[in-house]
Subunit: 638 residues, 2 copies
Amino acid sequence: MPRHCRARNQGAWGENLTVSSGWVGRGVVGAGWEGVGGEEGAGGGAVAAPESSSMVFLEMDDLKAFRQWGSRTPGHPENFETQGVEVTTGPLGQGFANAVGLVLAEKHLAARFNKPDITIVDHYTYVILGDGCQMEGVANEASSLDGHWGLGKLIAFYDDNHISIDGSTDIAFTEDVLARYEALGWHTIWVKNGNTGYDDIRAAIKEAKEVKDKPTLIKVTTTIGYGSPNKASTHSVHGSALGSKEVEATRNNLLWHHEPFHVPDDVKRHWCHHFDEGASLEAEWNAKFAEYEKKYQQEAAELNSIISGELPSGWDSALPKYTPESPTDATRNISQQCLNALAEVIPGFLGGSADLASSNMTLLKMFGDFQKDTPEERNIRFGVREHAMGAISNAIALHSPGLIPYCSTFFVFTDYMRAPIRLSALCGSGVIYVMTHDSIGLGEDGPTHQPVEQLFSLRAMPNILVLRPADGTETPGAYRVAVINRQRPSILALSRQKLPQLEGTSVEGVAKGGYVISDNSSGNKPDLILIGTGSELEIAAKAADELRKEGKTVRVVSLVCWELFEEQSEEYKESVLPSEVTSRISIEAGVTLGWEKYIGQKGKSIGIDRFGTSAPAGKIYKELGFTVENVIATAKSL
Amino acid sequence: MPRHCRARNQGAWGENLTVSSGWVGRGVVGAGWEGVGGEEGAGGGAVAAPESSSMVFLEMDDLKAFRQWGSRTPGHPENFETQGVEVTTGPLGQGFANAVGLVLAEKHLAARFNKPDITIVDHYTYVILGDGCQMEGVANEASSLDGHWGLGKLIAFYDDNHISIDGSTDIAFTEDVLARYEALGWHTIWVKNGNTGYDDIRAAIKEAKEVKDKPTLIKVTTTIGYGSPNKASTHSVHGSALGSKEVEATRNNLLWHHEPFHVPDDVKRHWCHHFDEGASLEAEWNAKFAEYEKKYQQEAAELNSIISGELPSGWDSALPKYTPESPTDATRNISQQCLNALAEVIPGFLGGSADLASSNMTLLKMFGDFQKDTPEERNIRFGVREHAMGAISNAIALHSPGLIPYCSTFFVFTDYMRAPIRLSALCGSGVIYVMTHDSIGLGEDGPTHQPVEQLFSLRAMPNILVLRPADGTETPGAYRVAVINRQRPSILALSRQKLPQLEGTSVEGVAKGGYVISDNSSGNKPDLILIGTGSELEIAAKAADELRKEGKTVRVVSLVCWELFEEQSEEYKESVLPSEVTSRISIEAGVTLGWEKYIGQKGKSIGIDRFGTSAPAGKIYKELGFTVENVIATAKSL
């Protein structure tokens, strides 16, 4: 069942809200659940109703296995462990920014696909967040953006319980939260009795829905551990179980006399009527979509591709093609050609930059800006908000399999968005990170803007592809890999400076992560292997030319993506880097740590084990040893 | 000259404000300077007057060498390149949070050392920030904290020029900034003509100084590229030079008829009178301090140690001592003993946690909380604001050489504060990062909270020490290293779970980064070397015991700090890891990439090349192969 229908099947709090931040389960269903969740690591939970088809429902035994090995109820909700969990929101603030991404996706698709006579995309996004989320900078970035965009279908419940892990929020958090949100362009409501004021909560949701042009923050003042006679309103119920004695006291206090893990029939009935309701809503939507498919064939085909994630056939032939004769160009410029080519052929391709579009070269020329009054457009202006950009992009990708978001900043500022990048990798969100100015080659801005350790720090992360293409052949090759990999993110590290088109580079080679671009030896045993990536592959190629003139047999290997190379067969890897050849040099404008893996103990690395410096790029390259001469000298020293 | 005097020597904007964000130099002094700076990478510049002694003044030739190799005027101001630059603020938002740290340091020292009859610490902190800084989450975190703390001596100028790199701020930033700051507890003022309204600016500063209990944000509406007839108010003056034609037009427009790089005499005179003014203020302060030293000897000694950075003799003997007979304990608990011991003996030792004090075990028991009304206390409650915590800590360390800040969160959340950690390393700020819950050993919270790649991603960073101590001997050893290293930060990766006290660990060994804790071979050629760090050193030690029973000679090496080990002599390194011994196994609960450096191509790594999972810690350790049995099996497979 497509999410657009499924997500419509969302009602008000207390109706069919099923999964929320950090397994907020403060009721007394089972002994293992009391006092669980709240803010710790909650991250704000963007929520949706469970899938009604192919759904593996959680059973009572799953609840009993809470936080156990292999359980479907892990310590924090994970989209890859439990059906119905849409995004993994563990670290604080992430889920809130995810919610902005989900509501953006809805608004964009609604603007593109709804018709005057058929509304096919139409859902709200609800999020519950606590004091911890509110303190995180990423939440302010995301709420500033949502206020700017006026995404009115976001309804956020701020659980104002005055308690965080270190005790009362008075010790570190005394700002006027509602006033801040008003300044950010939000509609705000305060429900003063969140413990039992169900009608007030319902009224707040109704009011929020009436405000169409602004998101709404509902501050819901609650008591943490409500019902526990001795621990309510203390941080001791934040992340720890109540203990059997206090559970007993709480049960008595709340007049709850059922056995642990027993759900009374009337409660069960109340919840289960949502199954029928959901099924009927689904049937209604399916009928409407059938009509839509008849009336609006082209749009329906596009929307189906976004819902299914199926790429249009032959999409990758749109990517630009370079030959060794093509002029020099920066890979960030080639990247822009790729982005524009992909946006032409992939209906769900969209993205933007953190206020560096003109430097990152990420504008889609055939589209305008996604803005309040033009949500059908595809250039997203994130402002200088890298952290929110990453979290919003994660959610766009998770909203619909065919939405392929890219986002962009200088490579060094992956440091500002490391948390959402990690979540892309963990929760299988195929975001394309377009990271330009990928080395000291950016020049004058100096060491704060020059990445040196970022390549390795990202290669260390599981389930992510780090691609550093060298030219106009490898860059489209890298995009091809990034688009195909919908279950893991890709980092594209791209040059600011112009680079030549090399002999021997190939799209197929990129898909294997590492490959031989040239070799003048006859068999599989050259005298020397030079391994380069990105902008330094040129230096390796030129040094090889020189060394060959002196009679050496030299192989040049492009190791454009370590992760893909590691996934190749042992035979293939051996064919590229034969173990017999121990004379190896790596050349990469980054730290050398980690290169031991490929150069072995007899090889040498030309890299940068220090921070960069401010000067013209060419000068820095020369001073730090990224020259053909230095490669040759190093080769002779082996 | 101590900063407390120097910093007092700060006046109003237009008087002796000398260095600001991103070299904001929009005047027309020299052709190389026009249109430079603004927001791009500016980060908000915390400013102070230049040092009046041992000062290397910038010369006109330095200005001419702007952004050139070896220049003292690099692309962004760096505290390690140019005298008078107090903090390196390149990436956006950092400088603003730094300013909060500087004003916190002043408030704290003033509260501790000023006397009713002698005010010895008394300075303002000024910061200039742009739209880009305002958009960054870290700025909101820092301003929320400053509003909470009521640090009234912070005066921030928000350069409201409506332009960022991608064009008008209307495309991504339409919030009501002043209203947001009011919600955060700030006093706000709007100067509508920032181009020529000098009197309004002076009046705003006067008003800001009168508000003692709140920081002040002065929104100064300006025209970017003011004076340039064709490029003013456009993003084309943001980060690019005007070009000679437009420079000429601007000169004519502003009636500026001097040669490039010529400073007219009257301007020079106006600026130079600050030398005398500064010298006289310095003399005044020195006299006052001499009196203070006589009247308040103990306080003066403490303050002198904070000003000079000289550690009290024998300080490290206060650190706790463990023996192999001592009970098991988590290194986070041992860390708390160290923190409390150090705070007793080091006057400038202070810090806190991002709302995890009770989990990180970072409370200083003999002190209360640094709060609005108790600024003399030393426990800083950062709230859930990791990014600002790092940037504030950087500035505390840079404020006075003897201020030694520590800050703390779960190790995985170094991802949230990677940018300020990098700046600690780059600008030589000796912050102590107390990072607990350092592996899958944290258990139930699951993969979003379990670091696996963080050790390696931080080891890749230049000029930082990553220490992962194993027990009650290595943890104090790690603190000793961290305290001594005032010019680079230390990351202490500490366990949540209890660990035994090991035979053979030593404080001296930690200082060398890597050392042998046990070996049953007679010479320097054991059959096998097991290398462990932190919580896995125990497994290595136990596996060695078992293997020795089977007649093997086994060495166990603790590689507690790779960076320090690399700094040892080749002889020492060879004595610990003899190249002849190629049977090596590393055991560390993190990714294996990078371990090739020490295990070589014949060794094996026991690590985690995936994300973790939610379950009790012991179960995860067992399932992922961190067991004595697996080490033994791996040893036999070599």
